[in-house]
Amino acid sequence: MERAILSGNEAIARGAYEAGVKVASAYPGTPSTEILENMVQYPTIDASWSPNEKVALEVGIGASFGGGRALVAMKHVGVNVAADPLFTLSYTGVKGGLVLVTADDPELHSSQNEQDNRNYAKFAKIPMFEPADSQEALTFTRIALETSELFDTPVMLRTTTRISHSKSVVTLQNPVTDLPEPALEKNPAKFVMLPSNARKRHPLVEERLAQLEEWACQQSFNRVEKAGGAIGVITAGVSYQYAREVLPDADILKLGMVYPLPKQLIRDFAANYDTLYVIEELDPFIEEQVLAMGIEVKGKDLFSICGELTPGRVAKSLSGQAEQPYFSHSEPLPSRPPSMCPGCPHRSVFYSLNRLKAFVTGDIGCYTLGFMEPLSAMDTCICMGASIGNATGLSKTLSAEQQRQVVAVIGDSTFLHTGINGLMDMVYNSSTATVVILDNRITAMTGRQENPTSGYTLMGADSYRVDLEQLCRAVGVRHVQVVDPYQIAATRQVLKEEMERDEVSVVIARRPCMLVKRDPVARKPALAVDVERCTGCRACLNLGCPAIEWRTTAEGKGVAHINRLFCVGCGLCQQVCHFDAVGDIHE
């Protein structure tokens, strides 16, 4: 058997391939993105980026209704967007197996909240698997697809960041070959969810859950690991690894399926111990259900609901005290927050909005970093696409004068995700706010994925490139201007004009991301500061460019310095320098 070291995400893609998945769709979102990126290597899978998670799930549902196996992936908050089809899919059930991967982000490594999506399984009344390493991510993907067909239900597979992004060793197998060919088959009583049909499906959903619960008690993915200890632990997912690490002598009931719970198995296990822990991240999801069975367990009274667990946090919660590290710092350390890359086309837009004293309703993407000092030009950020609706609502409350300060800022991919609906509303209901679309021709934050404005598909094929100007005009925006954000003065002038206009306007700041892999943007030579001319006015520092550092000369004069390893020669600092101190390197 061939072995490989794969991340949880790579393993899910491999599992989908081995299980004969025909269609995979997703909208990128950390920590889920690499699942679809890794589908591309398997020619039997049609893998695509959808404009948003709801569309991704609807594509998966269509594939399933045709009889093909489908996998749909998204980050935890993406499931909020896809929740509408999900809840009714629970009623229709499937034809080909359908798995929805939700990649949760405890600790908010790269997210706006840390919601626990196990609750969705209970809410939508569908089974959920939770792998504890890459091998399980691979195996559970296959089992989830089989379970989906066996019980005529969509199935969720939940990872967390530490599962998605951790690598561990897996064994690879050949793909299955005996799946039925997809074909059209009419079955309106099952697939048309009119009230009269849906009413008949609901009892089936409840019966299905009861059957699943009983079945899960017999399955090897829910297993007891005996160490002969006096302590019992019920756990699942990554928390299992921490429990094994910290409590090597405890007996463990390791759940592979976290909903519905195998109640009889839990009862039988729990009967053996005076001390029983539930070790789980985020919500007391397992704990509350075990408590409701009348079994006494210790859980969230010890382990935090907030943030992720680690071996150290588990140990500390159990013992009540933290172990002192051998080394601890005796001085404060500077933080190192992420920042926009050198040459990022977003930088000058935020620089200008800061100068224009705009009140910026922000959105989700690299440009959310426009919040950071010194750009400091983002005032709200809620969820994908929210900037535009937020700007509309905000304007409704303000004086005419303050309304002019309101600017929504949104990226190209986020605009097509759910921003366009907000823009329709803005025109329809006569808002006066200004919308800036930061069009860098890629979904950048998640690691540069293609989208309908980029002109390419996930599989690398050429595709139609959405014409943003036409799209904005089509919904009724009369003032659409395109600027090159590398031209600071011109960008600022256009922003000023449109902010002053008492009508909806859209400014498209267009320039490709510096990091785009295909047609890479040619980097210009690094720039340098002429120490004689630099007056130390610090104007260039206001750009927040990581390539610009502050140095003190031998004479004790503070001057700007450009780190040539980072500078890509975008020239923004040349434009903001009043003393002509930035120029090409002369050697």
Binding site: H109, Y242, P334, P337, G447
Partner: protein
């Protein structure tokens, strides 16, 4: 093979090539027959933020996160980011630090200050520590972007894995175009 798990941390600044270095290392360890787990966070932290990668190997590894204060080796790609993660290293652990300072934005803006004399502070707490001029060696290897491979070479001396596991992995995982300079960079680091 005993069941002791060895813990390696690699830290630095997003964009320095930490992910590729840790990928190569974990592939090498798997090739050497170990159970291996590797963990790091992608996403926001790539944008010039502080990055840390955990690599654990042994007969059987559970948690992919190194238990706090139990790292055996810390390889730091940048001085502050080496210093920052010292509390994760056990007493008597080894620290390899690249001699490079990258000033984070709050330092450039004058809001916070970069700690002074980091190499001395590391050496005082960890006698088994060394300072490596990664950039100088990378330039010697013919490409200043091979610093991560130089550092990986230096790390390879700390763990007893045969060269026959390293060479094919490097050949497999480094883009062919840059292979020669990376092989040279690795050997410069390994022979320090």
């Amino acid at each position: 093979m005993n069941n002791r798990v060895t813990n390696i941390l690699i830290s630095g600044v997003g964009g320095q090539g930490i992910l590729l270095a840790s990928e190569i290392l974990s592939e090498v360890l798997m090739r050497a027959g170990f159970d291996v787990k590797k963990n790091e966070i992608h996403g926001m932290s790539q944008r010039g933020g502080s990055v840390i990668s955990h690599i654990r190997y042994g007969q059987k590894v559970y948690s992919s996160i190194i238990p706090e204060g139990q790292a055996d080796v810390l390889l730091g790609f940048e001085l502050l980011e080496t210093y920052r993660y010292l509390p994760l290293v056990r007493q008597g652990g080894s620290v390899l630090a690249n001699k490079l300072q990258i000033f984070p934005p709050p330092v450039t803006l004058g809001k916070e200050s970069y700690p002074s004399d980091i190499p001395a502070k590391i050496a005082a707490a960890f006698p088994d520590s060394s300072l490596i001029d990664g950039l100088q060696l990378a330039i010697e290897a013919g490409n200043q972007r091979t610093v991560n491979t130089v550092l990986l070479g230096a790390l390879s001396k700390q763990i007893a894995i045969d060269d026959s596991c390293w060479q094919p992995t490097l050949r497999k995982m480094v883009p062919a175009k840059y292979l020669e300079e990376n092989l040279k960079a690795f050997s410069l680091g390994r022979n320090l």
